[in-house]
């Protein structure tokens, strides 16, 4: 296994800049995820590392060696594609065994060794009973696991996995995700993993990055990405519901207090720390100190009684009850605000249009400059 490092890598398709000056390091043995929406350039990065896509500028290193000019087969990577790419004339066993037989890796395994490896990975991923089947007789979820098994059966320098569990049903996704993490830990595998599903990225990664339109928005551990997003886009890509965004203004009172105000009802005094954070993100429009506040749904208290001098009242838009918690939604001018209340931990029996008290937990408040427009669905 190697460390993979990208230094100022860019890639153009015609005049379009698909990847814009990207640098990151995936250490040896690290599980590194690339999270982003469709079209961000995630798969392009994997293909550049694999050598399938040439790059226009920058350097790609495997350990200390620049691999820019190495053809794919000399880079020794193993890749799983979202689209499976299975050989339809081969059965499952032959598909998985294929990389073991490829002359370029010179593995020279005996039939027994090959069988042991194929069976081991197939059993591990729960497809051991499908080895005789042809791909066309498999469900989408089964095909995807065959594709994953084929990528994992051999020990390359680095595993490149592109949405390898995207097509599994919800329950199977959970168990397969755990298996992948177990695989990574057991083999000390270097894995670069592409996904659009924030849950997978948070659950699996040692480190991750958020990619938007070919640029890195944030690099960090899953905890950093979740708790301290640097950009509004990152906060809104991660979490269910996503981080609440509220556009408002700062009002600096004469007595040194700073108020955050969004519309006529949403108003509270910022703590010292929160005020400092907010001042750094202020944009000046129409003589107002405009700022975007971000707060995760679990950090908004809801009560039928006044919570503190810093709480304020809003009418309930809707209450949605789940098995372990409820989501109370409020309508703001250009966004909705969601609060999650765990069973028995707050006023979750409120009804539509009822005015309730809200309090923002300022320890967990974020402020942003606006990089995206808010809108209601």
């Amino acid at each position: 296994m190697v460390e993979v490092r990208l230094e100022n890598v860019s890639k153009r398709y015609g005049r379009k800049l698909a990847i814009d000056d990207i640098s990151f390091t995936c250490k040896e043995g690290e599980f590194f995820s690339i999270l982003g929406p469709t079209g961000a350039g995630k798969s392009t990065i994997l293909k550049m590392i694999a050598g399938i896509e040439p790059i226009n500028s920058g350097k790609i290193y495997f350990n200390d060696r620049v691999v820019n000019n190495l053809p794919p087969h000399e880079r020794n990577v193993s890749m799983a594609f979202e689209s499976y790419n299975l050989y339809s004339h081969f059965n499952v066993y032959e598909n998985i065994a294929f990389p073991l037989k490829a002359p370029k890796w010179k593995l020279n395994l005996s039939k027994e060794e090959e069988k042991a490896k194929v069976t081991e990975i197939a059993d591990f991923l729960g497809i051991g009973q499908l080895l005789d089947r042809k791909p066309q007789n498999l469900s989408g979820g089964q095909k995807q696991r065959v594709s994953l098994a084929r990528a994992l059966v051999r020990k390359p320098q680095v595993y490149l996995l592109d949405e390898p569990i995207a097509h599994l049903d919800a329950k199977l996704k959970f168990t397969t995700q755990t298996l992948l993490r177990e695989f990574a830990v057991n083999y000390g595998a270097t894995i670069i993993y592409v996904t659009h599903d924030y849950r997978e990225a948070l659950a699996l990664s040692d480190n991750m990055m958020v990619l938007r339109k070919g640029k890195i928005d944030q690099l960090g551990s899953p905890e950093e990405i979740y708790h301290t997003p640097k950009i509004d886009f990152v906060g809104m890509l991660v979490g269910e519901p996503p981080m609440n965004m509220v556009d408002g203004v700062l009002i600096n009172n004469r007595d040194g207090k700073t108020i955050f105000k969004a519309g006529s009802l949403f108003e509270f005094e910022l703590s010292k720390d929160a005020a400092i954070k907010a001042q750094k993100c202020v944009g000046n429009e129409n003589n107002n100190l405009n700022v975007r506040m971000g707060i995760r749904c679990e950090y908004i208290k809801v009560s039928d009684k006044k919570i503190s001098d810093n709480s304020f009242r809003l009418p309930v838009y809707a209450a949605v009850h789940e098995a372990e918690s409820s989501v109370i939604t409020f309508e703001l001018e250009n966004s909705f605000l969601h609060s999650r209340i765990n069973r028995g931990k707050g006023y979750d029996t409120c009804h539509i249009s009822e005015e309730v008290w809200l309090e923002i937990d300022q320890e967990n408040i974020c402020f942003f400059q606006k990089t995206i427009e808010l809108s209601k669905a």
């Binding site: 329950k171 830990v185 948070l202 809707a318 949605v320 009850h321 098995a323 989501v327 939604t329």
Partner: protein
């Protein structure tokens, strides 16, 4: 508004393939009922029979006590909204919504009044002059819903309306659907394979698999009193954990662990015929408490194999210290005890959260009501 009754309804395809088997349920007036199950379970066949798009092989469907078996879709006064929006792309949003009224020959000023009223409820007032292609997916979906609702249907049938929705908009759309339902009070039947969707939107849930009804009940009943192992596992994310245990008495079971035999009390009783037998115990990942006091009798030790960070929660993947080293999951909320891989932990299996299933996978604890 209407109450819907399905009485011993069967759907048999080609003489021998059973699509729906002897299904009986009621959707009460103004109720929001989910029909939930994996694909191929009989959900869509049921919905199509209710809508009149599919012949009923045996049994009766009635609306407000009137059997509608022989009535066509248009005579049943049903609003149907499917996953695909099927809007008229050349017409404005207004004309799309007005279409069913114009088809009835309604006068212009009455059409205006009704379209504006429904648009207000569905938050579409600002968009009435746009063409559907100019709208985001969520808006298009609401236009389709508005067109379905404007006829003041007896029953609204929704078939996977949210399955292609951007996951980031889910909370917003759910809030909107819930609000619309509470404002209009329509009897609504919602077909979905997504248990989280069913739980968050509906008053009650009917679970179908292999053409058969498994259970019907409120979210609370389905979640806390599943009637069998299928329901227990299908509902909840992650699904219920299962492990082996031995029935010790009518009110207790035991697990053999590396710190000795642990006896666990039950909240209810089991038939004495099970005493001494090895059966399946179930407990939800969200309902296992990580214990502070490890000396309680109900505490079972385990080893943390993996931790999956989920943001507001983390999932611990734990190797239980029973003889089979069963792998189970425990959901803990952020801000609780901090663990790392390889740590030991002690879990409290409290009586009210323990489920037992016999070898036919039926739940067997009789709970006091």
């Amino acid at each position: 508004m209407s109450r819907v009754d399905c009485n011993n309804v069967w759907k048999i395809y080609g003489g021998n393939v059973i699509g729906v088997k002897d299904l009986t349920f009621t959707c009460n007036d103004k109720e929001f009922l989910a029909i939930l199950g994996p694909s191929g379970g009989g959900k869509s066949s049921t919905l199509r029979m209710l809508a009149g798009l599919e012949e009923i092989s045996k049994g009766e469907v009635s609306f407000d006590g009137v059997v509608v078996n022989e009535k066509g879709p248009s005579e049943r006064n049903i609003a149907l909204a499917f996953e695909s929006y099927a809007l008229y792309y050349r017409m404005s949003v207004f004309e799309n919504i007005a279409f069913p009224l114009r088809a009835k020959g309604m006068k212009n000023n009455e059409v205006d009044k009704q379209v504006n009223a429904i648009a207000k409820v569905l938050n579409l007032s600002a968009l009435l002059q746009k063409k559907p292609a100019e709208l985001a997916g969520g808006h298009q979906q609401r236009v389709s819903l508005a067109r379905a609702l404007i006829r003041k249907p007896n029953v609204t049938l929704l078939d996977e309306p949210l399955s292609h929705m951007d996951q980031r908009l889910r909370a917003e759309i759910r809030a909107q659907i819930r609000r619309i339902h509470e404002e209009l009070g329509n009897t609504t039947i919602y077909v979905t394979h997504d248990q989280a969707e069913a739980i968050s939107l509906c008053d009650r849930i009917l679970i179908l698999t292999n053409a058969e009804k498994q259970q019907i009940g409120t979210v609370d009943e389905i979640y806390n009193k599943p009637v069998n192992k299928f329901v227990a596992n299908f509902i909840g994310q992650p699904g219920m954990n299962f492990m082996q245990c031995k029935v010790e008495s009518q009110k207790s079971v035991s697990i053999n662990t590396n710190v000795g035999v642990k006896t666990l009390e039950l909240a209810g009783t089991v038939d004495p015929k099970y005493i001494g037998s090895e059966i399946t115990m179930g407990i939800r990942p969200q309902q296992i408490r990580i214990a502070e006091n490890k000396n309680l009798e109900s505490i079972v030790p385990g080893l943390i194999k993996m931790i999956e960070f989920q943001g507001d929660t983390s999932i611990l993947i734990i190797e239980l210290s029973d003889t089979k080293k069963t792998e189970i999951r425990v959901v803990i909320s952020a801000g609780g005890i901090k663990f790392k891989r390889g740590d030991s932990c002690f879990m409290d299996f409290r009586p009210e959260f323990i489920h037992l299933f016999d070898d036919t996978e039926k739940a067997i604890i009789e709970r006091k009501v």
